[in-house]
């Protein structure tokens, strides 16, 4: 076993303030072919098939259904602007391997930051302690799966120096202040990372990927007549630096500033059960939290999700089709391969109102006797994969947005939400509406802010009574989904939808009491 080549690792650490300055040239997608030139971990860290076979054999030395290795090398960088200066640079290097032994639905897991044979064999031995039987054989050869490339990057994307990124944040600062004299403070940040992974399984898969990720955000504080408000916006995803054009900067600045200024006129809506219209785009986080999580198959195979007995049943009106998709270009949840080596694909969860599939990893797919859906994901090598969503969205319906708002009569229109949470077993959820509008007599009126909306996922799904033809995906890069202590990037989307009734929290009781 070769130690980490000194020079190579130094080069790996040399990503100045957001620049992937000195990494070896990367060509997206090349390791997704059968060509041996794709062996990044072999070339950089000396991880060859013989060693992988040895590690897998150790992980299965006491039996088990299968074992896998997850090698990861990630470099993350952040540049921050405050009070008009780009004055913060932070970075992180993550390198290691996670080794898993699986027996039925049981998991043994060890990981190490040292890619030496001794240390990796020790991690494999830890994983093997789950079992106490005879050894399970490991495949004699490894095959590289064919996969798409849903986040191509420019050949020179790793050659952008950090210095070139400073003007991005300086321009953002200037644009925000130029948009309104009421802006008091601007914070901006540019975060990016490059993750290289290699997954090797005991049943003969060897897959590699390069996963770029980044986002540009701005948060502003505005002052008016002694009052202050704050809001922000971000854009990003699995993209290279060329995405952050002047037009993108303008979009972020416009939304951050205008969202903030609108809050000065915002009121609290009446509390209680009222019709809720979900605007297109970012409100898809409701779909993700309130409905998607309950469809993750680990919860269902354990019979602890409210959807456990609903497979094949009607869960929504016939115009409702919900998809979880790895194949959207450049979105935060897009995946060429998942963290178990399964190529990214599109999975229809609800088709014309019928629940047709759960979201599977390898363990749950075997449990249900279906093909894995490519949803086995993990935060990093220190965690084992579990079923996770990717880009989750609902297809558009037959109505127009105006029809939907008119049909609501009196209620609220939700434009921006955050801080969602769901209780899987009950299906109950809550979301913080940071921005929205009142709907009065079928028309949008006063802005609203800072209220929760609550409901029950299956009930909400059944109560979507109209959907318009304006599906919009969320293009932010900062969306992180948390589950079992692991965060993974996701995206989501929704057309304008009418939910017949949800509980709106607030201090104003219906009928004017308070």
């Amino acid at each position: 076993m070769k130690p980490i080549p000194r020079r190579k690792f130094i080069r790996g650490t040399a990503m100045a303030g957001g620049a992937l300055l000195l990494l070896p040239e990367l060509k997206a997608g090349m390791w997704l072919t059968d060509q041996p030139s794709g062996n990044y971990f072999l070339k950089e860290f000396g991880i060859d098939e013989t060693l992988c076979h040895k590690l897998l054999a150790k992980a299965l030395s006491k039996g088990g259904d299968f074992a896998d290795l997850y090698f990861e090398f990630t470099v993350s960088n952040y540049l921050g602007l405050e009070d008009g200066k780009v004055n913060q640079s932070y970075g992180d290097i993550s390198l290691g391997v996670g080794i898993r032994t699986v027996k039925g639905d049981q998991i043994g897991y060890g990981y190490t930051q040292e890619l030496t044979e001794e240390s990796m064999l020790s991690a494999a031995a830890t994983a093997s302690t789950l079992c106490d039987m005879n050894a399970t054989p490991v495949s004699d050869s490894f095959t590289r799966p064919k996969a798409g490339n849903y986040y191509p990057v420019a050949p020179d994307f790793n050659g952008i120096p950090a210095k070139a990124k400073l003007p991005l944040l300086q321009a953002m600062n200037q644009k925000c202040f130029a948009l309104s004299t009421e802006i008091a403070k601007v914070n901006a940040g540019f975060s990016n990372s490059v993750k290289r992974v290699m997954i090797v399984t005991s049943d003969g898969i060897m897959a590699e990927d390069l996963i770029p990720s980044g986002y540009l955000y701005t948060s502003v504080v505005a002052e008016r007549n002694g009052k202050r408000e704050q809001s922000g916006w971000n854009l990003g995803g699995r993209r290279d630096f060329s995405y952050y054009t002047d037009a993108v900067l303008n979009e972020i600045a416009d939304k951050a500033v205008n969202n903030t200024l609108k809050l000065f006129d915002a009121i609290q809506p009446p509390a209680g059960e009222i019709p809720v219209v979900l605007g297109p785009g970012v409100t898809g986080i409701l779909l993700h939290e309130a409905i998607g999580h309950g469809m993750e198959a680990d919860f269902n195979r354990k019979n602890i999700s409210t959807y456990s007995s609903m497979l094949g049943k009607k869960v929504a009106e016939p115009f409702v089709t919900i998809v979880d998709d790895a194949t959207n270009m450049n979105l935060a949840g897009s995946l060429n391969i998942d963290d178990e080596g399964i190529p990214g694909k599109r999975t229809v969860l609800v088709e014309n109102g019928i629940l047709t599939s759960y979201i599977h990893d390898r363990i749950s797919a075997k449990h249900y006797g279906v093909e894995p859906t490519g949803n086995g994901r993990r935060q990093d090598f220190q965690n084992y994969p579990i079923p996770r969503m990717r880009n989750t969205y609902m297809l558009g319906g037959p109505a127009t947005p105006e029809d939907v708002i008119k049909q609501a009569g009196n209620g609220i229109y939700v434009e921006n939400v955050s801080n969602g949470q769901v209780k899987i077993g009950e299906g109950d959820f809550a979301f913080y509406v940071s921005q929205g509008r009142l709907i009065e007599n079928g028309k949008l009126t006063s802005p609203i802010k800072d209220v929760n909306i609550m409901g029950n996922g299956p009930k909400m799904l059944a109560n979507i009574t109209m959907a318009s033809n304006d599906l919009e995906m969320y293009h932010g890069g900062a969306g992180q989904c948390g589950k079992n202590g692991q965060g993974v990037p996701v995206s989501f989307g929704l057309p304008t939808c009418l939910v017949k009734s949800l509980t709106v929290g607030g201090t104003q009781q219906k009928g004017g009491q308070s």
Binding site: I4, R6, F9, I10, R11, T13, A14, A16, G17, Q88, S89, Y90, I93, L95, I107, Y109, G110, Y111, T112, A123, T129, L130, A162, K163, L166, K185, N187, V221, R228, Q268, G272, E273, N303, T306, Q382, Y384, S418, N419, G420, Q421, K423, G425, E426, G427, D428, F429, A430, S434, K449, D450, V451, N452, M454, N456, T503, V504, G505, G506, Q509, Q513
Partner: protein
């Protein structure tokens, strides 16, 4: 991880070398933090191991200051051969940052006066925790939970995790600190069959520094079951204004909305609704919040803060009045204020005299809030909104479990409605809060 006798010395030598190299490479100043952690996790579901996980991790984080420019980066690779490149790259990062006159290490005079008190953060018996012990502990919790759950149980997951860590930090201008400690966490979650497709999931987990401080394992399992039964039949009721009790263990979820606006960063960046409230009464006289870093075996106990300032006991909020902000070195320089320490340790609300059961009898119709879901607190305006789960009582009698409901207010109004503090501080947390009783809260539902 057993503690190596010479681990701290190894860390010190490495830190000294990193500091020397960093200064030689052109930095005016630097700060290096080194840590090593051993973690073990065992989970059981339905009487068999579901997850067995174990690993050791390490990290080195370096901050460099060069001509009032700043950069920081972390690496898991401690080899000097690779650290040399890491250091020079980081210095190049810092050089391209814009000048910020406030980006410096603290004035060393603020390092003086650190207590040498033994905080008892590391359990000396931790090395005796064997894999067999761990499995036995989890099985005991699981058994108690299953037994209490009876025939309505769909699934029980029980787990134990423990951590052993050593930290070391040193600056180029004279600060050095180190700590070692242990954590042990155990508990269970249960899913029950309720009406229709509802499957309530409740849990109870306990974290301690010392294994011997854990309550009985049977008690832990039974409490996990009891808390799940408290979710059965949970429904929303009509929107109503009534007294609410924030159960001790969850009260920090609401009070945390006061902490961020008390920070120097929020104040300097104009994102704090408390910025002009120093010394002013903004809450009930019953609201006192202390920050006590010296609690033996406390989950947040420490001898120095993130800047290297000596930890000290302080009243953050005293009888409803905002007594002290959380000002770290950097924002103290930007604000032109004295630093007070930007980080908290153990937060304490002094307990009252009556139990929650006694208080409920006197409240008439009220809701005991036992859990939260979603929500947020706006640090600029003070508005907050939180989904809640709880139990409805009337004159001391249980009426029903409630779910899908919400409380919302502005912190400047809400804390004036605090009318009583319970006698039951939750000791298994960095926030040792008793239950808190509020009057006249709008709880929205139907």
């Amino acid at each position: 991880m057993s503690y190596k006798k010479d681990q701290q010395q190894e860390f010190r030598e490495l830190a000294n070398w990193v500091i020397d190299q960093t200064k030689q490479a052109g930095a005016n100043d630097c700060k290096v933090s080194i840590s090593k952690r051993r973690s073990v996790e065992i989970n059981y579901r339905d009487r068999k191991p579901e997850v067995i996980k174990e690993a050791t991790t390490q990290g080195l984080y370096l901050e460099v200051f060069i001509n009032k420019r700043f950069a920081g980066k972390s690496t898991p690779d401690f080899r000097k051969s690779t650290l040399s490149g890491f250091i020079s790259d980081l210095i190049e990062n810092a050089k391209i940052m814009e000048e910020d006159p406030f980006r410096t290490l603290p004035d060393p005079k603020y390092y003086a006066g650190r207590s040498e008190k033994d905080l008892q953060l590391a359990d000396p018996d931790f090395q005796q925790l064997t894999p067999e012990n761990r499995h036995a502990m989890v099985k005991a919790v699981e058994n108690a939970c299953l037994e209490k759950g009876g025939d309505k149980v769909i699934s029980v997951e029980a787990g134990e995790s423990d951590d052993t860590y050593e930290d070391f930090v040193k600056t180029s201008n004279g600060f050095e600190g180190s700590s070692r400690g242990t954590y042990c966490n155990i508990g269970a979650s249960m899913t029950l069959q309720d009406e229709g497709d509802r499957r309530p999931n409740g849990y109870h987990y306990i974290t301690c520094r010392y294994r011997s401080d854990l309550p009985s394992l049977q008690e832990v399992g039974i409490e996990a079951a009891n808390r799940t039964f408290d979710l059965m039949g949970g429904k929303k009721i009509a929107t109503e204004t009534l007294p609410v009790i924030l159960e001790n263990r969850g009260a920090a979820r609401v009070l945390s909305g006061l902490l961020n606006p008390m920070s120097g960063g929020s104040i300097q960046q104009k994102r704090s609704f408390l910025a002009d409230k120093k010394g002013q009464q903004f809450g009930s006289k019953l609201l006192t919040v202390q920050d006590d870093p010296f609690l033996p075996r406390g989950l947040g106990s420490k001898l120095y803060d993130d800047d290297g300032f000596p930890a000290r006991k302080r009243d953050l909020i005293l009888e409803g009045s905002l007594n002290e902000f959380l000002i770290d070195w950097y924002y103290s320089q930007k604000l032109g204020w004295e630093p007070t320490s930007g980080s908290i340790s153990n937060l304490i609300i002094p307990p009252g005299t009556r139990s929650v059961d006694e208080i409920i009898k006197d409240l008439g119709r009220c809701i005991l809030i036992t859990g939260y879901i979603g929500g947020n607190s706006n640090s600029t305006t003070g508005d907050f909104s939180l989904g809640i789960i709880g139990k409805l009582y009337d004159k001391g009698q249980f009426v029903q479990n409630v779910a899908e409901m919400n409380i919302a207010d502005n912190h400047l109004n809400f804390w004036n409605k605090l009318v009583e503090v319970g006698n039951d501080p939750w000791i298994y947390s960095q926030a040792r809060f008793p239950s808190l009783v509020f009057d006249g809260i709008v709880v929205s539902g139907i």
